[in-house]
Amino acid sequence: MAFAFTDEQEQFRDIVARFLRDTSPTTEVRRLMETDAGFDVEVWDRLNRELGLSAVHIPEAFGGQGFSFVELGIVCEELGRALLCAPYFSSAVLAAGAIAHAGDDVRRADLLPALASGERRGALAVTEPNGRWDAAAIETEATRHGPGWRIEGAKSFVIDGHTADLIVVAARLPGSTGEHGVSFFTVAGDAAGLSRELLQTVDATRKQARLTFRNVPAQPLGEPGSGAPALARLRVDAITALASEMVGGAQRMLDSAVEYTQLRMQFGRQIGSFQAVKHKCADMLLDVELAKSAAYQAASALAEDDPEAPALASLAKAAASDTYLRAAADCIQLHGGIGFTWDNDTHLWFKRAKSSEAMFGDAAYHREQMMRHWRE
């Protein structure tokens, strides 16, 4: 598959990029990261009303625009470049993805339109304090309770979990182990028995919460206990979208380094004229282009339901993890002392890079995942 964006896709990218230049300058990022909610309601509304970004990849039947994962990847890449503070990843990618993969058409029709319009915001609660992201690690239990269900347990690392209207929870049936007995349930953000606390995170531009469920009423998504395949597919979506976001951030670090080193003078020269600086930037460019290619390949594999998609997604996440952090660290280095100050913007991306590196499994984890696919 020789990947190239269509002209329409490139135009779409430009529209998204322009919107973000207007709505997400770093002054805004800095303002919002100091708030608990961590996003601006008005910008969120515009992003959905004007561009319909939350709907981009959702089937038209459920209020979406019915584009492919390639378009979703474009959105994530631009969001990562601009570091927009908004619940897009948590709601449009994770929550909507879980509902699309796990729910039947009734639940989809019931839940997706509101997420597609951005009118409601969803969050995904899979990972628990153990930090793992696989079905076997889930201990939270879902038990029958008359006609409905109740959730009992603790979730952590829930992106925007403290502000979401709707929580999609992965839980297991009592007595089940491993992949068996795990499936998704939906819980109202303000449900009785649900307590949500904001976590202190390295990356203040993306909020995470710890959720505690005490006998919380929930509705099943799909057949209770048989959601492992949906979770597996959702993981592929998640790391592919994250990889796209990460290469967008890495590109921003490269652009920033190239720009600054041509402004900065030392020893009577632009520091960008020193070979050590030029070669570091050249290496960054190679690094970033390779990681981008991997992210694009993974996104188009998903768009085409390529069976290689899980391997390619892990490949893309591993590449993006190493590349983004290196690019951010190099960008700080090329800024010199100023790059280590709070007032310089570089650390905002550095912290996103560091946090994204560990999110949904680090590079070593995904290299191993990839090799499991290609072992034989």
Binding site: K278, C281, W374
Partner: protein, 418 residues
């Protein structure tokens, strides 16, 4: 040109091939037919063995040739760089004299640019050509010359003026390799192969009519030759296949190809043979080791990403987009891939990595990888030069202050380097 014309053209080509193609003709006879008819290089001008067609259409014709298995004109080696350069910069005398025998493959060519004293710095050439009133007299040395030992002619870049800045004192010539003043010696590499030559000139002669560029304007012409070098490499690849059919002409072509490809037989090893990594890791059982899996994975991520990046560049070009940075990154990526592959092959082979030849893994192929890979980051421009190019041309970063802008005579340079 429209679809219809393309269809018409394919039809004409098919008709012509039906009428003339015969695998039992001699290679030269057939290629002379191609030259006379214009079907051999349809994108060349009508007055010079072509049909003046745009390149895309000429590709359609190549497909018709492939269809019936018809052999094409001689494409491989430096000869196509010579042809492209002469077509663009040569006078009619030079075209008349050289182009046809390039197409028939009767003449082999070599490129005389690099020197011991000027590798990264091509324009720093010190091989001199002095006009003695009747002809040019050449003295000096070139190196890294592929096929020089059987080449009939050489594309020579020589210094004709020492009192101007280095790029302005060079002149571009065609040199007859078959003369007493030219000595060719093989240059052995650390991997034992001798795919290149050193060429020594002692009062070698060039008649005035074999001067290609105006005096002092050779660098511009050399740029043309270098620009075609990449495409040349591609031609080489496509040329490599299409050699397993029966008929006298195929045998002759196979012999020609074998001679031309000989110097390149270790190039796959130089690139690291990523294709061998997974099979080797499985056979040796090393793939069971999670640490080995991590290293294999790092290599595959690098190699696949590099491949996708190259495809992305081509795809964008085919869509008529301005070439993005991806293009110029390929060579640098290849160095990383080759180095990483050598590392992983060593890791997989364990103690066997110490063995070579018949005693070594894969009958010495692994050992050849290990001692060939260092060439990847040097040949055709070192990684350091590539990074300069990427930083300056792709990222638009400022150049370094230059020390070599004055008259070449005064520029510090290597004395008797070799």
């Amino acid at each position: 040109m429209s679809e219809r014309d393309a269809g018409q053209l394919r039809a004409d080509a098919r008709r012509w091939l039906e009428a003339h193609w015969d695998p039992n003709r001699s290679l030269v006879e057939w290629r002379n037919l191609l030259a006379d008819s214009g079907w051999g290089v349809p994108h060349w001008p009508r007055e010079w063995y072509g049909l003046g067609l745009p390149v895309p259409l000429s590709q359609a014709i190549d497909e018709e040739f492939a269809e019936v298995g018809a052999v094409g004109v001689a494409k491989a080696g430096i000869r196509m760089l010579a042809a492209a350069t002469l077509l663009e910069h040569g006078n009619d005398f030079l075209k008349e004299r050289f182009l046809r025998r390039i197409l028939t493959g009767e003449d082999t060519w070599c490129q005389l640019f690099s020197e011991p004293g000027s590798g990264s710095d091509l324009a720093g050439a010190t091989t001199r050509a002095d006009f003695d009133g009747r002809q040019w007299v050449v003295n000096g040395q070139k190196v890294w010359t592929t096929s020089a030992h059987h080449a009939h002619y050489g594309l020579l870049l020589a210094r004709t003026d020492w009192d101007v800045p280095k790029h302005q004192g060079l002149t571009y010539f065609v040199l007859d390799m078959d003369q007493p003043g030219v000595e060719v010696r093989p240059l052995r590499q650390m991997n034992g192969h001798a795919s290149f030559n050193q060429v020594f000139f002692t009062d070698a002669r060039i008649p005035p009519e074999c001067q290609v560029s105006e005096t002092g304007n050779g660098w511009r012409v050399a740029m043309t030759t270098l620009a075609h070098e990449r495409r040349g490499a591609d031609a080489l690849r496509t040329h490599a296949r299409a050699t397993e059919r029966v008929g006298r002409i195929y045998e002759e072509e196979a012999r020609e190809t074998a001679t031309i490809m000989e110097p390149y037989k270790w190039y796959p090893q130089r690139a690291g043979r990523v294709d061998l990594v997974l099979p080797r890791a499985r056979e040796t059982g090393r793939l069971e080791d999670p640490v080995v899996r991590q290293e294999v994975a790092k290599l595959l991520i690098l190699a696949k990403s590099a491949e996708w990046t190259a495809r992305r560049a081509r795809a964008a070009q085919e869509q008529g987009r301005p070439q993005g940075p991806e293009g110029s990154l390929g060579k640098l990526a290849a160095s990383h891939v080759a180095r990483a592959a050598a590392r992983v092959h060593t890791l997989i082979s364990g103690a066997d990595a110490m063995l070579s030849g018949a005693d070594g893994p894969l009958d010495g192929t692994i050992a050849e990888i290990l001692v060939s890979v260092p060439a990847t980051s040097i040949a055709g421009g070192t990684d350091e030069i590539q990074r300069n190019i990427i930083a300056e041309r792709v990222l638009g970063m400022p150049k370094e202050p230059r020390m070599d802008t004055g008259p070449f005579r005064d520029v510090p340079r290597n004395v008797g380097a070799s």
